[in-house]
């Protein structure tokens, strides 16, 4: 790892850290490395509801810089029931925390992506787009992902999900927030009743030719359909 590569240290839920974390940070800061501190506040966990989790999220974000000498903070409000960052509640926490940090500081903040659905599904791409829209419009500086299928299933991550994250962010940058909120309302409503039966999707080997590393025709078709659906909801990825 070079000094310009982010070195990641995780806080613990909520407002906690262990000695292993502190010891890593002592070495990295002495070495002048770039430090990214990560923490995923849990909605429905120790903090409680949406506003309470957001309060803890702001506190934990500040701690990354003030206590742990982080250069940027990687957020990730996560839903205790579904294990995802793309639910309405966790998007609302992330959107409010980013806007609060952005309005009051120049600190660099990021967010990470865990979807319910797996790769090669429209739902996974719509979940990803919804979070990318939220993160971009609320002023975050870096988006990190995507761990599809909640990030727990072997080989359920591909570059196509990151393509959606990036293209949705590009389409959103510069839009007015009230317009973004209207689009988000429609988008989240389109998938939020399906968490319990989210499509498992396909593995990397089923999504890509592993020799040429090119996505399959099936996945490119699903991607195109998701782009068309987003366009119908008011987000134009083709422009």
């Amino acid at each position: 790892m070079r000094g310009c590569d982010p070195h990641e240290c995780s806080q613990l839920n909520e407002l906690k850290i262990d000695m292993a974390g502190l010891n890593m940070l002592a070495g990295w800061t002495a070495n002048g490395n770039t430090v990214m501190i990560e923490q995923m506040p849990m909605f429905g966990g120790y903090c409680g509801g949406i506003e309470e989790t957001a309060i803890c999220d702001v506190a934990t974000t500040l701690a990354s810089f003030v206590l742990f000498s982080g250069n940027f903070h990687l957020d990730g409000p996560i839903h205790i029931r579904w294990g995802i960052t793309t639910s309405r509640e966790t998007l609302q926490i992330a959107g409010h925390v980013a806007a609060a940090m952005d309005a009051n500081t120049d600190l660099l903040i990021a967010n990470q992506y865990y979807t319910a659905a797996g790769p090669c599904t429209e739902m996974c791409l719509l979940e990803t787009a919804a979070q990318a829209i939220t993160d971009t419009a609320s002023g975050r500086e870096l988006l990190s992902g995507v761990a599809a299928s909640r990030g727990v299933t072997q080989d359920k991550a591909t570059g196509m999900e990151a393509r959606m994250m990036g293209e949705a962010a590009m389409a959103t940058a510069g839009m007015r927030v009230p317009e973004v909120n209207r689009i988000l309302e429609k988008m989240v409503s389109s998938y939020e009743n399906d968490y319990a039966n989210a499509p498992a999707g396909r593995t990397f080997r089923e999504c890509y030719d592993t020799l040429t590393v090119k996505p399959t025709e099936e996945y490119r078709g699903i991607y195109d359909r998701a782009v068309k659906k987003l366009s119908g909801l008011g987000l134009n990825l083709l422009g």
């Binding site: 990030g151 196509m160 994250m165 973004v180 990397f204 996505p215």
Partner: protein, 201 residues
């Protein structure tokens, strides 16, 4: 009172050592929820329906509630079972100390991370990768290459290599270290294969 200086990792450790002892269960189940609930009431926070706030008052009230949460509650060390405290002026000093721009990666593949200030026209940096999700050893390079080759991806974040030379990469074993080193080599190889050798990882 003016602060002595922005806190270092060593200052933080010293404060933990001198901090008050608190059982972890009390921290998790009493102190955190009680303080968060009180601050929600004090700052009259109710997000309503908007996913992103449209009014400055909500943004400022949430920031002040979070700041007060950190200052009034402190931070917990799970090994020492102790709580450190930090003052508001130390928080502000720490914010001032933090660099507001970063270069990630090097050469022509470097990207600049800097404040966007609201929903400005500049897109955020896109860090592509499996985010710690498990990835098979035999396709690890190809999975990372699929992210590195995307036009909108600026930097990479790797997955976790499930095995190393067939051995489970179990936490707190030498194989965990061996797998981590292999992950870094594989991510570099993925960057090279896509013609972006300087990409930040």
């Amino acid at each position: 009172m003016a602060t002595e200086r922005a806190l270092t990792i060593f200052d933080v450790y010293d404060r933990f050592v001198k901090g008050r002892k608190v059982p972890e269960e009390e921290w998790d189940y009493s102190i955190i929820p009680t303080n968060a609930t009180e601050l929600k009431k004090k700052y009259k926070l109710n997000f309503g329906k908007n996913i992103i706030p449209e009014d400055k008052a909500t943004m400022n009230n949430l920031f002040n509630a979070g700041l007060e949460m950190l200052v009034s509650t402190g931070f917990y060390n799970t090994d020492l079972k102790r709580v450190l405290t930090v003052t508001e002026s130390e928080v502000m000093e720490g914010i001032k100390r933090t660099p507001k721009q970063l270069i990630i990666g090097e050469g022509r593949d470097a990207v600049r991370l800097c404040p966007r200030k609201g929903n400005g026209p500049v897109k955020p940096i896109i860090q592509g990768g499996p985010m710690g999700a498990p990835v098979s050893e035999d396709i690890f390079i190809q999975v990372m290459q699929s992210f590195a080759q995307e036009a909108s991806v600026d930097t990479l974040v790797n997955g976790v290599m499930s095995t190393i030379e067939g051995h489970p990469a179990t936490t707190n074993t030498p194989y965990e270290i061996r797998a981590t080193m292999a992950e870094i080599r594989a991510v570099r190889e993925a960057c090279i294969r896509t013609g972006r050798p300087g990409m930040g990882i």
